[in-house]
Symmetry: C2
Subunit: 478 residues, 2 copies
């Protein structure tokens, strides 16, 4: 599989005509601001940092309604100008970075919550996840099933187009699972954009496709009960004990959980600065969010683990202790990476899956082989009906060659790597493209203008779909 | 392990004094009515039918308040008269049958729902499950996580004291799981009954203990969202295909389910009389209750199974078709047995667990070995964090010896049998007694008056606790 190249030299788009066509819409052409809205958290990867540093759009267009989007898409199709849809820009791997320039379509203004009903919410794509929950919680006692650690800034549309799960996945699996999205409505990239509502298997055309297959204009998501989530940090003398605890807690079917993360020392002590006083040196930790109604059940469960020590409980904090602490999910998933990077810019990371049922032994073997160069970070999830863990191991970066070796070692030992140092869908490894997916791309974006250079299958007519590996989002026809 | 005998000759209890002590309480001494309130569905077992046919109490006392219960218990302790607590009498295996006579304590009048809050309900033990749900649903959009197929008649206290799970276990596991009961309050069988509130691991002292360790006077249970449950029957040409479908549906983490039952032909056609017109001859079926909001996800999932045919959908019925149909859960769990027994009184059953991960192969091997003598009936559940299935296979009964052979064959091939032809806790095999459990019995019922002859460990000082097998409810110290 070869990465399609892109060039900073690009066609001279007819921006003057585009501006005229879009008169009345909010357009940004200050280069510094355009540059800012042309990036995501790609810089977590030293490889992408090198490759994508110069990427920038020509224009940012902000929209406030579906009618606005129709105008932008129709004009850009006519003028053959690429369009890269963008929510809050909290993604990674350059997902929403405009490799061919053109327009960044800023959807953050389309942020209305349209309907709240028992079990579901309808919203516009730019609505911020925490804002949706604030409304569903206060009006109905419900909340979204899943969110990334960027909950307080990420948009729902961006989460669906670029995310895969996260906080909540220990109960609900991922966005890949049938049932975690009810419906998506999108506009096609055609001279006369069509409005399509997708459900069931058709959702795979758009979920985690980086906005290459249409512009999401409305989402309908299932809701879960909004529990009072108790935050707990449990400390262990050995990493293996912490991992075994996390796995076993994941398998407690009747204790509602939102987060079960396990992080090896010394990362918590070094990176969780505002929680530092709760974290004795040398202790490996599990971060847990558990239904406060299951408090006694959780305590009884934890007592079964000799050596498990509760270091932090959100329900036992004095008000002055609680002040200034970030929510626990902002120590988890890619926020662990972010916090580690902040204290040590030489850190980068991988994204892995340790397949059931050998996940704990595999984690142990891999980290034994890699020693201090790679610190373990596990996120327990339900995956295909079983509890297992993803990894976001923290890598002390030296060279791109060594990083590739570490990836290869993970794969050789049996882990699946979703490579966060690649900007294409296929090489990232979460999303499988297949002939059906490609056929839908031809239908929804016949000129290949949506977020170009992200789908190898589109760029390379000889692309081989048959590569056998585990994808989070299998092909439609898989 | 030997079954403790009990004798129909029993001490002459001082009933006259008891009656005087309980003046003002409702007492039943009509022998026919006492007999009726002294039995459960023990007659599903031809073995227990023979053993327990003559069992009857001396008196039924109905109570309406905790103060009433205190009076009954104190008087019976003083007079050394046994007390067998009883809810609605929908249990099995003679659980609540008064083997030593004495008093049946009828708790059905203590049926108040005391408090409904987000995520939980508090109720008196006699409250009928469906009645609790009617209130939690209308007042809060919530419902109980778990219920037996006798939902419309069983009491919550009886379910906890004698049940193990059932409808809902595919999502929540069983009553054995930490978190599926929040707290239980009970009265001890002492001269001055004490009121104890149990949570966490201490719940194991009372859950599925047949009322031998105290009288439950209040329960606090977690609630789940009250979905609009879609009822679906799916037909298959082969039983193996139906079982594989059920297992895979069970593993769909994001499709909310309440029931996944798989039943081999010709049982559905013979026994589900009011659904008969939906059930073509020869078809093996899956009975499914799934969240109506996941309709499209469920349809997409089902389309992946070649040969899976939707035979029945509750959302596609004309009103005249829907009339007179029982709810789908009344074709499942032990209602399958009941319906089969009604059309063929020579039928009996077993209760089995097919351990993960080999459950489907094991089911297939066992039923191949047994042929038409035993029809397969699977109930998919979450068990220790994985999806697997219980069985309630339907046995064409010939002799007790052959029945024992069939049990032995199941065990020899690798299934766990919870023998429904035994009336003791230990031999039933769901409940493990251990020294801690026994110590609590000594504390809560020092004279051994609560539901006598059900706990071998109490009756036999030489009882060996060490028997290694799988119990649904492990010992407290396990």
């Amino acid at each position: 599989m070869s990465t399609p190249g892109f060039s900073s030299a690009r066609p001279a788009y007819d921006l003057a005509t585009l501006r005229a066509r879009l008169d009345g819409l909010r357009m940004e052409d200050n280069p510094a601001l355009i540059r800012q809205k042309s990036r995501d958290f790609y810089w977590y990867s030293p490889v992408l940092k090198r490759q994508l540093a110069e990427v920038t759009a020509d224009l940012v267009v902000s929209v406030a309604s579906e009618a606005d989007i129709v105008r932008v898409l129709a004009a850009c199709v006519e003028l053959r100008i690429p369009v890269t849809p963008r929510g809050a820009g909290t993604g990674n791997y350059g997902q929403a970075m405009p490799l061919a320039g053109g327009v960044v379509l800023d959807l953050s203004g389309m942020d209305e919550v349209l309907e709240i009903a028992p079990g579901r919410v309808r919203a516009e794509p730019g609505a911020v996840l925490a804002e949706i929950d604030a409304q569903t919680r206060s009006r109905s006692g419900q909340e979204l099933r899943l969110h990334p650690s960027t909950y307080r800034s990420a948009s729902i549309g961006g989460f669906i187009a670029g995310g895969s799960g996260g906080v909540g996945s220990i109960t609900w699996g991922g966005l890949r699972d049938l049932g975690n999205i009810i419906s998506l409505t999108l506009l096609t990239m055609e001279a006369e954009p069509r409005r399509l509502r997708l459900t069931g298997d058709d959702l795979a055309r758009v979920a985690h496709a980086y906005g290459t297959n249409g512009v999401i204009v409305e989402v309908e998501m299932p809701l879960a009960p909004a529990c009072d989530w108790l935050e707990v940090i449990i400390g262990f003398e050995s990493f293996a004990a912490a991992a075994a605890y996390g796995n076993a807690l994941g398998e407690q079917d009747a204790i509602l959980k939102k987060l079960v993360s396990v992080i090896a020392a010394p990362v918590p002590q070094a990176a969780f600065l505002r929680h530092r006083s709760f974290l004795p040196d040398g202790r490996h930790v599990a971060l847990v969010m558990v239904d406060a109604l299951a408090r006694e059940a959780f305590e009884a469960f934890t007592r079964r683990f000799a050596g498990a020590e509760i270091l932090f409980r959100s329900d036992r904090l004095a008000p002055e202790e609680a002040k200034g602490l970030p929510p626990l999910y902002e120590l988890s998933w890619n926020h662990t990476t972010l916090r580690a990077l902040r204290v040590d810019p030489a850190i980068t990371y991988l994204q892995t899956l340790y397949p059931f049922p050998d996940q704990l032994a595999l984690v142990s073997r891999i980290h034994e082989a890699l020693g201090d160069e790679v610190a373990a970070h596990l996120e327990f999830v339900r995956f295909d009906g079983k509890v297992t863990c993803f990894g976001l191991p923290l890598v002390r970066f030296t060279t791109e060659e060594r990083l590739a070796e570490i990836v290869a070692l993970h794969e050789a030992m049996g882990a699946v790597v979703f490579d966060p140092h690649r900007y294409t869908l296929e090489e990232g490894g979460m999303k499988q493209t297949d002939p059906d997916q490609l056929a839908f791309k031809r239908e929804a974006d016949p000129h290949g203008l949506l977020n170009p250079h992200k789908m190898i299958a589109w760029e390379d007519p000889a692309f081989d779909f048959s590569g056998a590996r585990t994808y989070l989002f299998p092909g439609i026809g898989a």
